[in-house]
């Protein structure tokens, strides 16, 4: 049997029922389009989160005092004081997998200049902080080692703080602002970074030498954290392990005892957020997949009705020489044409809808080629799967009864 002929036969049959064919197709179109646009939304948000995280410094490593705890409040005040400046010095000296390292202390408070004030956070760090957090100084300059040594009262401010304290376009450089009553001279302004993926304003901060913040502002002898950056994203785990070993030795922790600090990498955070968006993607795809399934059932339903309605036609075809498998293939091809055409339209519609979502709602969209191929393959298989049973029923008809069917 010539397959061209069978395709021709199937096309003619579909042509006779254009509207019904279209309605059947609609189920598949909606299914495929929703699978594609849902996956595009899921992938798009995952990518944008990853991009923002790597902007924050994807190879950043954070060391905080206190053991890692899940549930149960055991963080006593003293446990939060376990990191000392000496720890930073040892890490900076001995760790091989890190390129930059800074101690960190911070204080929330009110920054005041003249009649203007704003609540913000002051971070006490050294100059490595810029590289670790991917900040850069836009105007002015950053403080030096010498400033750190003498605990100089200088600071670098973020764009948001600059705008709040100097609303009339005054140049903040060289001005002295007060933070929790202590005067700081503004020596630089950071290049703006905008909001991060958690919605935090990354420009709402003041950076000062850690010695100044630790001694003059907080008057503490410990540090609140250490930030480092691994040589590369890939070796962040090695860096974490190395730092843990160094700190355990430094803190004289016996083997088997719990750490009194915890080390995390940005990479962990990134993959955690990634898995959240993955879950969202899977959920969206499931919902869309269900609509594809419903579309498939629609095909089955219509093919079923069609077989019953065309019983006489089937009987006639058989009596003039069509074999069972000709009839089977004819109906199967019809089902596949419906789902295939529906798939093509659905893919186009899905891409269009994704573009529309991006344009109208401004959501990040990313269409992965595999999602197009996948949904297309699934809908074709759906056609075969749901077309098979009705086609089988048609092929098994007895021509004698079928031809006289009323």
């Amino acid at each position: 049997m010539n397959y061209n002929n069978l395709i021709k036969i199937a096309l003619r049959a579909l042509n006779n029922n254009k509207f019904r064919g279209f309605l059947t197709m609609l189920g598949i179109i909606i299914g495929v389009a929703s699978v594609i646009s849902m996956l595009a939304i899921g992938q798009g948000s995952k990518r944008s989160i990853r991009a923002q995280i790597s902007e924050m410094g994807s190879n950043m490593i954070m060391i905080h005092p206190g053991a890692e705890r899940f549930g149960g409040v055991r963080q006593s005040a003293s446990s939060m004081q376990s990191l000392k400046l000496a720890d930073y010095e040892v890490i900076a000296r001995d760790a091989d997998y890190i390129s930059h390292c800074t101690p960190s202390v911070n204080s929330s408070g009110q920054a005041i200049y003249g009649a203007n004030n704003t609540p913000t956070t002051m971070y006490g760090v050294n100059e490595d902080y810029l590289d670790i957090r991917k900040y850069s100084v836009g105007e002015g300059e950053f403080f030096t080692d010498a400033d750190t040594k003498k605990a100089a009262k200088v600071c670098v401010i973020g764009k948001t703080v600059a705008e709040k304290l100097f609303p009339n376009g005054q140049d903040p450089l060289g001005k002295t602002i007060r933070f929790n009553s202590i005067p700081f001279k503004v020596i630089g302004i950071l290049t703006p970074k905008g909001y991060n993926s958690m919605g935090m304003d990354q420009d709402d901060l003041i950076i000062a030498p850690f010695s100044t913040v630790q001694k003059r502002l907080l008057a503490i002898d410990y540090i609140q954290g250490i930030y480092a950056s691994a040589l590369s994203e890939e070796c962040s785990q090695d860096a974490i392990d190395e730092i843990s070993v160094i700190l355990r030795e430094q803190h004289k922790i016996k083997p088997g005892d719990e750490d009194d600090f915890n080390v995390r990498s940005q990479e962990e955070l990134s993959s955690m957020l990634g898995s959240t968006t993955d879950l969202m993607t899977v959920l969206l795809a499931c919902i869309a997949g269900i609509s594809l399934l419903v579309g498939g059932i629609g095909i089955m339903n219509i093919m079923y009705v069609s077989v019953t309605e065309r019983t006489r036609e089937i009987g006639l075809r058989m009596s003039i020489g069509a074999k069972g498998y000709h009839i089977l293939l004819q109906f199967l091809i019809e089902a596949v044409i419906i789902s295939f055409a529906g798939g093509i339209i659905g893919v186009l519609l899905g891409i269009g809808a994704s573009a529309a979502i991006k344009y109208i709602a401004g959501w990040p969209i990313f269409i992965q080629p595999y999602s197009v191929i996948l949904s297309f393959a699934v809908c074709t298989l759906t056609g075969i799967f749901f077309g098979w049973y009705p086609a089988q029923k048609a092929a098994r008809l007895d021509p004698i009864e079928a031809i006289r069917y009323e």
Binding site: M1, N2, N5, K8, I9, R12, N16, R312, E313, G315, L316, R317, M318, S319, I320, G321, A322, K323, G324, H326, P399, I400, I403
Partner: protein, 247 residues
């Protein structure tokens, strides 16, 4: 005499309905030679439909032999019988059985679509020729639902002719038509007969027997009568006597 087109020997066909066995055919035998126009008559329940199904290779006998054009059909499988139907038999049904919303030529081409040996071009040529033979050349592209009953039956006859079958099987082919159209169709059958076609016409209408060359009567699964008709009436003449309808 040339080899028989159809040769059936002591054919029986039993159906099992519930716990009972129904004997539809109880030993039927006859030969049909090329060029015969045979009517098979019988009331309903006489077994003529069963016989037609067997002759048309849609069904196989419970016992007995059936040779179509020298080939034994009894042991054939479903697919082989389908091929045989495709190549050797032309069916004409009471209710035409044209494909809905399909043009005349597409309907006529249909049997050839299932014959891989026929090219698209040849299919088209042969369909045109068949439509010529039934006088529907100018309605080739009319759809089946735009045609009258008589025209639809002509298309069906063209469809039966297109594969150049050894036998045409007509099942009450005039049953759905008014008197005048019936005679038109009968005239067509007679002209096909005159051109050498072998035709079997199954009917319950005794009148039609006068127009065929031979008549077989069935009753309760037996042949009760098998006579050759030497006085074939011309359907064309009868048609001429009928009052013309205003069109």
């Amino acid at each position: 005499m040339a080899q028989s087109i159809i040769q059936i020997k002591n054919i029986r066909r039993d159906f099992i309905v519930g716990n009972e066995t129904v004997h539809a055919l109880r030993g039927v035998s006859f030969d049909i030679a090329p060029g015969e126009f045979v009517t098979i008559m019988g009331t309903s329940g006489s077994g003529k439909s069963t016989l037609l199904n067997i002759l048309g290779c849609l069904d196989t006998p419970t016992s007995g032999e059936y040779y179509l054009d020298g080939v034994s059909v009894r042991q054939m499988g479903k697919n082989d019988r389908a091929t045989l139907r495709n190549l050797k038999i032309g069916f004409v049904f009471q209710s035409y059985n044209l494909l809905p919303k399909t043009t005349a030529i597409e309907n006529v081409e249909l049997p050839l679509l299932y014959n891989p040996a026929v090219s698209a071009h040849e299919r088209h040529e042969r369909a045109i020729k068949a439509l010529d033979q039934v006088g529907l050349h100018d309605r080739m592209h009319h759809r089946s639902n735009q045609m009258s009953g008589g025209q639809q039956q002509r298309v069906a006859i063209a469809r039966a002719l297109v594969n150049n079958p050894v036998i045409i099987l007509a099942d009450e082919a005039t049953g759905n038509l008014d008197t005048r159209t019936s005679f038109e169709i009968l005239t067509l059958f007679q002209s096909l007969h005159a051109s050498g076609r072998t035709i079997i016409f199954v009917t319950h209408n005794p009148e039609i027997a006068q127009f065929s060359s031979r008549n077989i009567t069935l009753r309760d699964g037996h042949i009760t009568d098998d006579t050759v008709n030497h006085n074939i009436r011309s359907a064309a003449e009868v048609l001429a006597t009928l009052p013309k309808e205003d069109e």
